[in-house]
């Protein structure tokens, strides 16, 4: 009796396994390949890619193509996977290479040139590959120091605004940043300091920052959710650093995901510390559906997509006449002046700077 029961249980478990297999398989088959291949366009991106369902459906209505999204790791890892699979890509369009890594993508020749329709509406200063159009700018974002409003109000101290402020004694031991070798905000912050203080001056600046007690952790998640006292996660984790390197859009995000929504963002942005990041997309060399890919690139800089982007990826649209959501205009910071470094200069110096930075700050 007992053993029949067990046998039944084993059989059930096995059947479950099989049906799970069938379930996965069934779902998948409907979507891929076969005769319908040309109707699907595949977008490869990093984990932060997000778009609302309605907008993706709109694309299908306009063009007849269905978008399939493949996300693979953070921005660096996602790009590296494209480089490794060059010539035999997993998708048609890659989205998510930014100006810090642009040269790596272009040097490896993973993109086919295509001039997207509607590019005229995009400011020239973000079109970093204007001559060849291997990549199309899609969004910009600013990497800036964020501060915990409550901390500075309680201490009756005004929050820092610039790089020069961060090395003042009153802000000693308050800042947490990310490892420039492994994290893109970390790298952006390093590049911003290099833009501010010059090729030779930045090292001296970081020495002072180190003496002023800057803490370095590996990734944004840890810095923001563990160490930063102003974020929701940081408050729960009892974070004790009121300054963190994050994004200019982080304060609106804190508002959006709080319940009830506060009337004022709990965090602010030190607007003098920002590094301007521009993200690009491009048609992959060897794409199975180049026409669909081109249509998708056009769509990515269309008003529809551009206006949908801010609340999904928390970045700014590149299209001049795209309207920002109220959340951004109300709670976001206006960054008048940003630091940035030309891609070829980044390409030439990135590794050396990161190496120098590592031995300067981490050792």
């Amino acid at each position: 009796m007992r053993s029949t029961k067990k046998l039944a249980a084993t059989a059930l478990a096995a059947a479950l396994g099989v049906s799970a297999l069938a379930a996965c398989g069934g779902k998948d088959d409907a979507k891929t390949d076969g005769g319908t291949k040309s109707k699907t366009v595949t977008l490869v991106s990093h984990d932060s890619f997000a778009a609302s369902d309605a907008v993706l459906k709109e694309f299908t209505a306009q063009t007849g193509y269905t978008v399939k999204v493949l996300k693979s790791g953070d921005a660096g890892a996602a790009l590296n996977q494209e480089i490794l699979t060059k010539g035999s890509p997993r998708g048609d369009v890659f989205f998510g290479v930014d100006n810090t890594l642009l040269s790596r993508a272009l040097d490896n020749g993973i993109f086919t040139p295509y001039e997207a329709k509607g590019l005229a509406g995009v400011p020239a200063d973000v079109q970093l590959d204007r001559a060849e159009h291997r990549v199309t700018p899609i969004d910009t974002g600013d990497i800036c120091v964020n501060y915990d409003k409550k901390y500075f109000a309680d201490k009756k101290l005004s929050p820092p605004q610039s790089f020069a402020d961060l090395i003042k004694p009153e802000y000693k031991g308050l800042l947490v940043t990310e490892n420039a070798a492994t994290s893109s905000p970390g790298l952006g912050f390093l590049l911003a300091s290099a833009a501010q203080y010059g090729d030779d001056g930045w090292q001296d600046y970081w020495k002072k920052l180190k003496d002023n007690g800057v803490k370095v952790v590996d990734g944004w998640e840890q810095a923001y959710n563990q160490e930063f006292s102003g974020s929701a996660g940081g408050r729960k984790a009892k974070g004790d650093r009121p300054l963190v390197v994050s994004y200019a859009s982080s304060p609106p995000v804190e508002v959006l995901y709080a319940k009830p929504q506060p009337t004022e963002a709990p965090t602010g942005v030190a607007t003098g510390t920002c590094f301007r990041q521009t993200e690009f997309a491009g048609l992959l060399k060897g794409a199975k559906n180049p026409d669909g890919g081109k249509a998708l690139l056009d769509f990515l800089i269309s008003k529809k997509f551009q206006e949908d982007m801010p609340l999904n990826m928390f970045v700014d649209p590149v299209l001049k006449d795209a309207k920002l959501p109220e959340l951004f205009t109300k709670f976001g910071a206006t960054v008048s002046q940003t630091h940035t470094v030309a891609p070829d200069k980044i390409a030439k110096n990135r590794e050396q700077w990161v190496k120098t930075w590592s031995s300067l700050v981490l050792k």
């Binding site: 084993t10 096995a14 799970a20 779902k27 999204v69 923001y224 959710n225 009892k238 995901y257 050792k363």
Partner: protein
């Protein structure tokens, strides 16, 4: 034997060899000069040194803290023992992203130690060592405790009757019997801590780095494939060495021991010594394991309007943020499906491998045994990137296929299946099979009537473990999981990658669910367990 071999050749050896080859032969010619270059770089020597000594220290500390636990779980009978044994195993299968977060709450700022004595360990290597104890406690309790529970206490009693002191009897009888199991457990802990990734990344910050972390950085971030390839080879050599020693100790352990039903050896604690020991072990388990897990649960319930289930409820909808195309709760179902598929693959591959290993001996087979363990010591990013560049042509263009996830997860599950099944299969008396055959049973019938009833339990246990390990697998999955079908750990990582209260709360809630599912699977497994010769 052919199927498991093919499986490993195709989904492990080939991808790993391809990615290493890409690094060392960028233009078709071997560039072995890189080997020396990389190995003499001071930064990397530092990494090697740190990797080794922290693994040694972690292993020593784990043994020190977990061996009393092994004794208590094996020999003392107390209410809630099975539940507790399942719970201490949960950390082992939880993704480190999640546990690192919870662990910081214990040893970090404002944590328990900080509040009690003002001790903060989050910036020291102690945090890493303690987290390693947290993760590997179960390895020692299960490996050593499993055997301890089956040692016949009458042997020790006999020695005492013959005049030996308690200590002398223990040293002469129990210790030698336990020795190989302790060594095997120590080597497993050493292997896991030597290849530690998440713990070091989260708790070590950028200053401490193990080989595995460095391979990840070089591959995923810097795309320095030559350096990554050399480091992979170094890790390979080290892991191979550890496994070779391990295989040796395991063989010694499987030799001649008189084993009895564990139910007969455990009894209620007697005397102040045993009670004190029990209390001590329970206190350690409470502080070191239950507390960090508790913190996780507490945070998942800690909403802005006081404690409640809001975050759990919010998991049912995709929300307006668009982090997911589907409600996060669906990740639970995805994970279960993937894990079931991975379990099925691991059972077939591991079961066949174990069957082949049990029947044959010889050096070649033993080498195969060690080979099956290798995936435990090879960086997930190496395997993931290897998949990308090898499985990209028909008929094996699997890069965008859902099957990739269970395949990668099964790689990690197979070693557990083999280690659980092998001792049981070896113990099946061959004469039973012969007798059945002589009486006219077909080979299938022999298997069904003789082998299956004997190994069914082991099979269930192996399935449970493969399932739990698959559920928690993060490293390889994150590279290949499809965005519309995120697994639980991937969903947690994605939520943690966003600002905002709701995202953080949902991440904690999903982690809690993962923890409960793992604990439930392991508890079921405890029920099925009677034979404890398996290693896990």
């Amino acid at each position: 034997m052919a199927l498991p071999l093919a499986f490993f050749a195709l989904f492990f050896a080939w991808p790993v060899a391809a990615i290493v080859g890409r690094g060392l032969r960028p233009d078709g010619g071997w560039q072995l000069g890189r080997l020396g270059e990389v190995l003499t770089e001071p930064d990397l020597q530092h990494v090697l040194w740190f990797t080794t000594w922290q693994a040694l220290a972690s292993t020593a500390l784990t043994l020190l803290i977990a061996l009393p636990g092994a004794y208590v779980f094996a020999r003392l009978d107390f209410p809630g023992r099975d539940l507790l044994r399942a719970v201490v195993t949960v950390p082992f299968v939880l993704p480190t992203v999640v546990v690192g977060t919870a662990f910081l709450a214990l040893v970090g700022r404002g944590g328990l130690l900080d509040e009690l004595w003002g001790v903060r360990l989050d910036t020291t290597v102690w945090a890493i060592l303690l987290a390693h104890v947290f993760f590997n406690y179960a390895v020692v309790v299960r490996t050593v405790g499993g055997l301890w529970a089956q040692l016949d206490p009458r042997q020790e009693e006999a020695a005492r009757v013959l005049g030996a002191s308690r200590l002398a009897a223990w040293r002469a009888v129990t210790l030698p019997a336990l020795g190989p199991a302790v060594a095997a457990a120590a080597l497993m802990v050493f292997l896991f801590t030597f290849t530690s990734f998440g713990v070091v990344q989260i708790l070590g910050g950028p200053t401490f780095s193990t080989l595995e972390v460095e391979i990840y950085r070089q591959t995923a971030q810097l795309l320095d494939l030559p350096t990554a390839a050399v480091l992979t080879l170094v890790q390979f050599a080290a892991v191979g060495l550890i496994l070779a020693v391990h295989a040796r100790t395991v063989r010694r352990r499987e030799s001649t021991l008189r084993l009895v039903d564990p139910a007969l050896t455990a009894r209620r604690p007697r005397g102040t010594g045993q009670w004190a020991l029990l209390a001590g072990v329970l206190a350690v388990v409470a502080v070191l394991i239950l507390l960090p897990l508790g913190v996780l649960v507490a945070r998942s319930l800690d909403t802005p309007d006081g404690y409640g289930l809001d975050y759990f409820r919010s998991l049912q909808s995709a929300g307006e943020g668009g982090t997911f195309l589907v409600p996060p709760l669906e990740a639970v179902w995805n994970s279960v499906q993937y894990a079931l598929a991975a379990t099925a693959i691991a059972l077939v591959v591991g079961g066949l491998a174990a069957a082949a290993l049990a029947r044959r001996g010889g050096r070649l087979v033993r080498g195969f045994d060690a080979l099956l363990m290798l995936p435990l010591g090879v960086s997930a990013v190496t395997v993931g990137f290897g998949f990308l560049i090898t499985l990209d042509k028909p008929p094996l263009d699997l890069r965008t296929s859902w099957i990739l996830v269970p395949l990668a997860q099964a790689l990690v599950g197979v070693p557990f299946v083999v280690r659980t099944m092998l001792p049981v299969l070896r113990a099946v008396d061959g004469r039973l099979r012969e007798a059945a055959a002589v009486l006219g049973a077909s080979p299938l019938r022999v298997w069904r009537e003789v082998d299956l009833p004997l190994v069914r339990r082991a099979l269930l246990i192996a399935a449970g473990f493969a399932f739990a390990v698959s559920l928690g697998e993060f490293g390889a999955t994150v590279f290949i999981a499809r965005p519309d079908r995120p697994t639980l750990p991937v969903a947690v990582a994605r939520l943690l990658g966003r600002a905002g209260d709701l995202n953080y709360g949902q991440a904690m809630a999903l982690s809690t669910i993962l923890m409960v599912v793992c604990a439930a699977a392991l508890l079921l497994l405890e029920r099925a367990r009677t034979d404890r010769t398996g290693e896990f």
